[in-house]
């Protein structure tokens, strides 16, 4: 014996109410969690750049004070939001980063004179294009002379 039409209508309405409630919960929750995950991703990339900058500057300073001919190799993990990297006036290691709000700089100041490969140096700036490629990069930091520490991607 089948259900009466009233019972069928009731179960249909209940079904629709459950589906509607499920959507009402899932859609806003998905939006909010997606927002959180975006923020976390940006914070992680920011931390990665901070780690790279500090590692390079600390190593350059240690190598400088170790004397001419000293060198070390550091392994860096480059995030995918690095737009440009340059050494300015032999003192500032400047990263231009792509953020959700536009291009933003992360600058690391060195107490010792730093430089890049001479072919990538123009006026007061040396570019390090290898640092804009996402992934792992080995960077040789070498005190080639008494005054300058050179950063050489390998």
């Amino acid at each position: 014996m089948g259900l009466s039409s009233q019972a069928k209508a009731q179960s249909s309405v209940e079904y629709l109410v459950i589906v509607a409630l499920t959507f009402a919960i899932i859609v806003p929750a998905a939006y909010i969690f997606y927002n959180y995950s975006l923020e976390s991703t940006n914070e992680i990339k920011d931390s990665q750049v901070l780690e790279i900058g500090r590692t390079v500057i600390d190593s350059a300073q240690a190598i400088y004070y170790s004397g001419q001919g000293s060198k070390t190799v550091v392994e860096l993990r480059i995030p995918d939001n690095v737009y440009n990297v340059s050494i300015l006036d032999g003192r500032e290691l400047s990263f231009t980063l792509r953020t959700p709000f536009g291009l933003s700089d992360a600058v690391f100041f060195s107490k010792v004179n730093i430089s890049g490969i001479s072919s990538n140096c123009y006026a007061n700036a040396c570019l390090i294009p290898e640092l804009t490629v996402p992934g792992t990069l080995k960077l040789k930091i070498e005190a080639q002379n008494q005054d300058t520490v050179t950063l050489i991607p390998i």
Partner: protein, 156 residues
């Protein structure tokens, strides 16, 4: 004849249901029920080198307290504010300008804010750009850091 009548009645009934649902959904959209952005917490996001400590969105001014984590004394050359509204928000530049010591917090207050849907009780999304340079670097290249404030404007 009876079959076609019941089929027509079926279609008409369901068409009405769809029309009613569409009107309800439209009304909810109009009143901003589906604007889930306003359920996201109020937040100020900058980079870790210039971090945001606190902010306030008053009826006609935007205050933001930023911390210099650069490890270097810098000079702030400019600070600007904007958003994606058309026309965007316009404010008078903050009074703070000059030397910014390392590990020190400074208040940036943008006054006389207007436009850009900057209205009391409204959720706004603002972008702040701070430009700075180090006097210890010979050519003093200017750098900029961009941050975002997402919050509700206070009333009154």
């Amino acid at each position: 004849m009876k079959k076609s009548q019941s089929a027509l009645e079926f279609l008409v009934t369901y068409a009405w249901v769809f029309v009613v649902i569409a009107v309800i959904v439209g009304a909810l959209y109009y009143f901003g029920i589906f604007d889930f952005g306003k359920y996201v917490p109020q937040k100020c996001t900058f980079t870790s080198q210039i971090s945001c400590i606190d902010f306030a969105l008053d009826s006609s001014q935007v205050k933001v307290k930023l911390l210099n984590n650069l490890g270097e004394k810098v000079t702030v050359s400019s600070a600007t504010i904007t958003n994606d509204a058309n026309p965007p928000i316009t404010c008078a530049a903050p009074s703070f300008a000059g030397t910014w010591e390392a590990s020190r917090a400074n208040d940036f207050t943008f006054t006389s804010c207007s436009g850009g849907a900057y209205l009391p009780k409204q959720k706004v999304d603002l972008r702040i750009t701070v430009s700075y340079y180090s006097e210890s670097t010979s050519t003093m290249p200017v750098h900029k850091v961009v941050g975002r404030i997402n919050g509700i404007v206070k009333s009154g």
